[in-house]
Structure formats: C-alpha cells, structure tokens
Amino acid sequence: VSTLVLAEHRGDKLGGDTLSTITAAKALGGEISVLLTGQNVLPAAKHASTLQGIGQVLTADDAAFEKGTAERLAALLVAVQKRRSFTHIAAPSSSFGRDLLPRAAALLDAQPASDVTEVIDAETFVRPIYAGNAMQTFRFPAEGPRLFTVRSSAFPAAPEEASSSAQIEEISQEELAAAKELETGSEWVGQDVSTSERPELGSAKVVISGGRALKSAENFHMLYDLADQLGGAVGASRAAVDAGFCPNDMQVGQTGKVVAPDLYIAVGVSGAIQHLAGMKDSKCIVAINTDPDCPIFQVADYGLVMDLFEAIPALGKEIQKVGK
C-alpha cells in the first residue's frame, strides 16, 4: 500500500481538510506521500513534512499550477501516478477535491469513491448515501489505483510530530511538462472569497438555522445576532429558502449543505427529512419550536417548546449573562 494525498494549502500550512485526509490515509497502512501544487509551496511543504506518518512530500512548484484549474491539475495527477504507481490516491472532499479527483480518475479509467467516512481495510470503505440516511460499505476492485475523497468531519486532523521530517522532493520539469503545456480551454478569471466576519456554514463550530416559522427575512436578523454572539454561522431550512427569507446557499439539508458542527440550534424548523439529512451528525442539537410533536424534537438533545420570538432574545441575554 502506498497512498498519495493531494493537499490543499493556504500560505504556509496545509488546510484542515487535508490534515483529516492524511489521518484517513494512515488507516490504510503503508507509506504516505503528500502532493502540493502551486507557486512557492515550500513553506507549506515544510509543514507537511513535520506531520506524523508522512513518508515523502512532493511539490509541483510552478506558476502554471498557481491558479490551477481541474483540467491542468488532473493532468498533473495522471503524470505523477503513471510514473510512481500509488495504490491509493486521496483528496479532501472539499470543493477543490470534488472538482479535481473525479476528473483524474476518469483519465485513469478508475471509478472513485466520494466522501469516505470510515476505512475498514485497504480495499473496503464506508460512505454515506442518500445524504447520510444510509451507510454504504463497498469494496474497490483488485486492480488499482483506488481514488477517494474524504469527509473531513469523520477523521481528526493529523498531528505534527517534533521528530518527524519527511523528505521533500521537487517534481522534475520533465514530469511536469505535459500538465504545464496542456491546452486546457479553461481560464481563471477571478475569485471572490467571502470576507464575512461570520464563519463559513460548512465548517462553523456553531450553526443556528431558521425555518419558515421565522416569518420574514427581517426576523432572520435575530439569528444573525445570536450567531455573532456565539461565533457561529446561520443556516436555513428549505422551507425558509423557498419562502424567500434567505438565499439558497444558506440551505442546510439533503439538497443544500451537510453540516456537522459542535452545536446546532434549529429555530422554528419542523424537521423535514430532507433537513434532518443535512444536520443530524451535529454533536449537540437544540430545537426550539412551539409544536411539541414536530419531528425535529426526535433528533434534538435538548428541546425547548417555546415561541421563538421570546426564546431567541432570552437565549441571547442568558448566554451573555453567564458569559460566553
């Protein structure tokens, strides 16, 4: 077993999703190599080399990969795989990994697996299907390579280790040539990364979601205020999105974002199946609703049967009182 982990990095560190992917790769046994792509990746490569269990760090350090679109990076991955023949290739199940890995897999004539949540052995894995309403255990075919993406909330981050210093190898220009020269047909125009003070819905430790019972877009401000107090993000049920209270990208559920924060507070959300599918892996769930029979209470650790227009301001005051 030899695994290549495709890394995402920001500045001088690997991303959190990549650290979880390394932990999943470790569960396979065998040697782990990490591949970093972009320009001036040495600081992040050094970070990778200090992580527990890394055998080798490969860098494709070239301007051509700095704004690398999936077309070019998939070609690179194929070139690296053809020369080095890893048994497994893993990537985080981030927008980066989900965009790139299937493209590379098709070029290698391999059927990849998405969103792995458990490694049983080097060929047997578990992943959620139907938005986590069922768990599928599956086996890869005997011939590799086996490509998969990893759901980061299912694996802890790989720790640094003082004694660890994996070798860093710069991939030769010859090996990079085909990917560098590829006529991709895709041009990177720009990126608008959210500058919001609020954390991103997908990775926030606290998520407060509102349902149709909020009654209006204005009333969602109550939730923003509480979220800001707790350093959290705000989500919404599909019903609230359909009613026009908030935009689509706030939707938590089977057809929206799947979240698993430490604390999820569902406010005026009835708990339709498609909403539960998007949040039921949260560590602690709080439901606030006037109807004691609604299904959200069946998944909640703490339920509060109360009018949300009284409960939310009171909750804000009480949290402030006890000091968060």
Binding site: D99, Y130, M135, T137, V189, N248, I273, P292, Y302
Partner: protein, 253 residues
Amino acid sequence: MKRILVAVKRVIDYNARIRVKADKSGVETTNVKMSMNPFCEIAVEEALRLKEKKLAEEVVAVSLGPKACQDQIRTAMAMGADRGIHVLTDTELQPLAVAKLLAKIAERESPDMFMLGKQAIDDDCNQTGQMLAALLSWPQATFASKVEVEAGDERRAVVTREVDGGLQTLRLRLPAVVTTDLRLNEPRYATLPNIMKAKKKPIQQLTPQDLGVDMAPRLQTVKVEEPLKRKGGIIVSSVEELVDKLRNEAKVL
C-alpha cells in the same frame, strides 16, 4: 450555441423516507415516489433560460436506466426541452459508466454545452460531470451559480462557481461541461398544456450496445445499513435550563 444536452436522473423523491432493505443489499425503491434529481432540474432550467435568451437553439434531455426514466425525460420536455434521448438498461450504472455513455452521446450530438446536476441525491457521488469532461477532453465548470454565454464567434462561457468560502469565476472554451449548484436558479413547474405538448415530443431510444460502452460496475457494495440513530434527548422547561445544560452537560458553550 446550437445545442445543449442536459442529463436527467431518476431518483427517489427528496421528500420520501429512505428505507434500507432488510437484507442490507440496498435501499428500497419499490412503491417509493420517484422524481427528477433536484440538481438535474436546475440544469434543465438553466439550459432553457439560455435558449429563451436566444443563446441556444435546442435543448435535449438525456437519461440512462430502466424504461421508467422516460418519465423524467417527459418532465424535462414538459419544462421545455425539445426532445429526449433514453439509453435503456437495467444494469446498475456507476458514474464512470454513465460518463462513458454520455460521452458517446456527446460524440453523436456535438453539443456546445453539456449540463448536469452537480450530484444526484441517491448515491451522492458528485463525479459524473467531471468524468464526462475528462473523457471528452472538454473544460469543466462544476458547482455553477451563474452561467453566461458570450455573444460572438469566439464561443466562450463565463461561469461563476461555488467554492469553499466564496465564488470563483472561470472562462471556458466551448464545448464545455457545466454542473449546477442550488443557487443557479429556481426551476419552473411544468404547466398542464406543456405536459400535454411534451407527450408529442420525440424520445430516441438507444441501448448501451448501440454505444459500445463497458458498463460493468467497478465498486462492489458489501452492505447498506441504517446510520446510527441519535439517542433521544430531553425537553427543557426554560431558556435558563437550556443554557445551563449546554454549558455544564454538553459543554458546548
């Protein structure tokens, strides 16, 4: 653009309850309401809007699978697609096989754009569009939240994508593959007259043999199980009690 192909998948309706089969071989699909995958509906809608802006001449809906998939092709045609293509097969299709079949259809139809939902809500793979683009050596824009086609002879599309933490914009040479995310649009409902009209629109039926594709599943399902159930919680009587529990019992505040 002359033609947009749109892939539509038949899946268990997003509102239906998912029941795992007793023998753990999969999920129960008999007597369960089936619908078009919601992300595919968004893809159909976007293709129709491009056509309505006179940026495309024809929209063709493609589905693969058993005979009943024609329902979803009819739905796409009732929304406004001009015709349909159905590849009839009862074999389990995994994304690589789907991508290979769609690539063959693309070779026959020469579309300027192939639109797909970013993922299907049954297997949640989120792979087919990327794999199709790879097999055709076309550029790809996944998770699209805005699609614009540039006028003129240059044949380019500018696509805004939902990426972690924000938005990214790509400019693609056509033909290209675009996969759709939730924010792109709100699909229309088919009206009764259009449902009636759709019955007269043509569906071309093909077999995998016509297309000469190896469809054998690569991943083997060992078992499908219910996820771990959450333990039942408690009802608290006041905001004060809730905050106390969150601080001292759950330790999340």
